[in-house]
Symmetry: C2
Subunit: 429 residues, 2 copies
């Protein structure tokens, strides 16, 4: 079918939707050259047009009528950049039902309703693309679904939340407390007024659900992902880590383990020479490993109008190519497999532990004996005296079942010589 142009409606003209619009509107010649057809944004739909924006929105594109954009004859591709799982889900399903291709940057939507959405897309023979949903500009979705598709993937580990990476990077560089850096990040716009989704690892877990579904070919409910946030990480932990040649990062970890998969989001000590260790500030990166591909890492800005807008606009070009070639749906959902998530208690972990104990003879031995009784093997210990007859002990354990560690900790917490278990952070190879 020879088309004059491909017409795009954008639902949700906030940061990402606005960036997508600006890129498509400013780079029309380049986009035309690459897509092989003109791509025209014909509608911008939002409910808050009184909100200030740092770019000009042509009056004739503004609308508040999402239904007209979705169902009208004028649009070929619907971009959903609203976020959340409320109207965003309704609109995406309606667009698919109307035979439109969909591009979304909505990680929560794809993590929680990906199956429903991709099944509907396959039935309608339309594309649903979501490169912008994980890692912003980082081309990880297309790389996993296409470039690396022929080999097996055994591991996908990501720094996929810029807010927490920014906070940990600044805490590490400046020795400041979590709460202080969070407040500064909120002032600078790097953290939301309600930062729960970011700092508790909820955002990272949504992204891990998407990554692991593609990497391992099996969809898993987000609720089955083990999750810990970064609010308990202290400058003391960052400093101990640095002295032992580690960094601390909030990692989203997916690993094959026989027929099961491990899925977890938590702060982790990562060796300073790991490719992810130097990913600082608001940057994101995703590291994958497999027997054929070896180690691959993709790095870039995980958020922001232009970076994420680039990913969304790249998907729009891909959808447009498929429309003009009649090949919509050529890269369908590939995660029809089944996988059982390994219980966290069964996962093999290594722990970094920091505790405050009574500074007197026999204490170290008593605690070490408890670890031994619970089959938790000690790799190294640092004990430093602090004030008021309290000593600080930092332990690094050998790898073992998480449940052994947890029972050891619950015994140790009950010892009267132990004042506080300050930190337990897992060490990742």
């Amino acid at each position: 079918m020879a088309r004059q142009s491909i017409k795009v409606g954008i639902l949700g003209v906030g940061v990402v939707g606005g960036g997508t619009y600006q890129i498509l509107a400013q780079n029309t010649d380049q986009v035309q050259r690459l897509a092989g057809v003109d791509i025209e944004v014909v509608a911008l739909c939002d409910i808050a047009w009184d909100r200030p924006r740092d770019f000009a929105v042509p009056e004739h594109l503004k609308t508040t009528d999402a239904g007209a954009v979705i169902n009208g004859p004028d649009t070929d591709i619907i971009v959903e950049t609203i976020g959340g799982t409320g109207v965003a889900r309704d609109y995406v399903m309606a667009a698919i039902a109307a035979g439109k291709s969909v591009v979304t940057s909505n990680k929560e939507l794809m993590a929680k309703h990906g199956e429903e959405i991709l099944t509907a897309a396959a039935q309608q023979g339309v594309d649903v693309q979501f490169e912008g949903s994980v890692g912003g500009v980082i081309p990880i979705i297309r790389s996993l679904k296409e470039s690396l598709a022929a080999g097996r993937l055994d591991e996908v580990v990501g720094i996929v939340n810029g807010t927490t990476n920014y906070i940990l990077t600044r805490m590490s560089q400046e020795g400041k407390e979590f709460a202080e850096v969070l407040a500064e990040a909120q002032q600078r716009g790097y953290a939301e007024a309600d930062p729960t989704d970011d700092i508790e690892g909820i955002d990272s877990a949504n992204k891990l659900a998407i990554l692991s579904a593609i990497a391992f070919g099996a969809r898993v409910p987000v609720a089955q992902i083990y999750r810990e946030g970064i609010s308990a990480v202290s400058p003391a932990d960052l400093e101990y880590a640095r002295r032992m040649d580690y960094v601390i990062k909030l990692l989203a970890i997916g690993k094959r383990d026989g027929e099961q998969i491990e899925l977890r989001v938590h702060p982790a000590l990562l060796s300073a020479d790991h490719p992810l260790a130097t990913v600082g500030g608001v940057f994101n990166a995703i590291f994958v490993r497999g027997p054929e591909c070896g180690e691959v890492m993709l790095y870039g800005r995980g958020a922001g109008a232009m970076p994420t807008g680039t990913a969304v606009a790249g998907d729009v070009i891909d959808c447009a190519r498929n429309i003009i070639h009649g090949s919509a749906g050529r890269v369908p959902c590939t995660c029809q497999g089944q996988a059982q998530v390994k219980l966290m208690a069964e996962v093999q972990t290594r722990a970094y532990l920091r505790m405050r104990v009574a500074d007197r003879p026999g204490v170290l031995g008593t605690i070490a004996t408890v670890f031994g009784e619970e089959s938790v093997s000690i790799q190294s210990v640092i004990q430093e005296s602090s004030q008021d007859n309290i000593a600080e002990i930092v332990w690094i354990m050998h790898k073992g079942p998480e449940k052994n560690l947890q029972s050891a900790l619950s015994c140790i917490r009950g010892l009267n010589i132990v004042k506080e278990i300050c930190s337990m952070i897992r060490v990742v190879e």
Copy 2:
């Protein structure tokens, strides 16, 4: 068109061709699931079947008759993993003429004959894919042509040759001379018996030609790429660099500069906190920058049977998807633009210089005066006394036109107080 299977013939069953075959033959279920159709390797063509291989080749697949593989009715996709521009070019052109889609990992072929090949492919409506030609497994070609396609790219900088990166990494870690590490690399199979293509930057220049054509949308003859190899880099330079928080890497650099583009391959001092600085050993990485995408880096193994085979097999899956959807040629050549390559003399560079001079009063001033007369501005100087009345001076210059630096060096080389200009390595921001 409903097809039973897509049939693949592989021409050249060496390292990459062999890896591609093994991946496609071992992962048939996964490949079928992702491609939406069975993909079957039906012919392996090579002229040296007596050569030992570390995998089993089924007798019924072996052939020496490339023409029959290319023109026979049994193949849909031809994989060219022969290398070079001799028969590889003839075979690729013949396959296109026969209406077959082509996948190649041949950087020299695509760098030198890409235009002829991609023009013929467009006329025939077939795919020519070449993800494996740059950076091995690194999904850079698809990312540039698709994921990052909507924004402008201003810079592409790569470590795209594993042999030289391995040599520089080991020289830096062990303080050994170039020749010694090269000999060891040859023994271990990390460098060819004739290492010229790698160590002189010829291989990197071919890859840069491909990257810059896609990133800047304009094809440039490889011969116009300025090129220096790594054989003159010494352990002393690596040590000075380290002390100043730099590393030395062989970089392939492409940059937009107004209407012109800069293209150069040379060793460079790179700040230790640049994302490319930690890319060690045989790993490759490509860093791109643009006003919309920001900084993006992709990292992985740049060579080897399985990594590069993964990239080639990924392209085979992509071609297969296009064949079953009737969309071959959906991502055509996108570098029809024109670009003028900036003369190296006009490029703005910064130099690191190491020289041995007479150790007596006035010498530093005399040399500094020459720099001043040629408008080369000094950023920092380290002078260390060595033996026999000879001092070693290390200079870092401010940025300026390369031609000024070259005329200053030619004057300085003529001064009788200057015993030797040991090194001139450019510093990259």
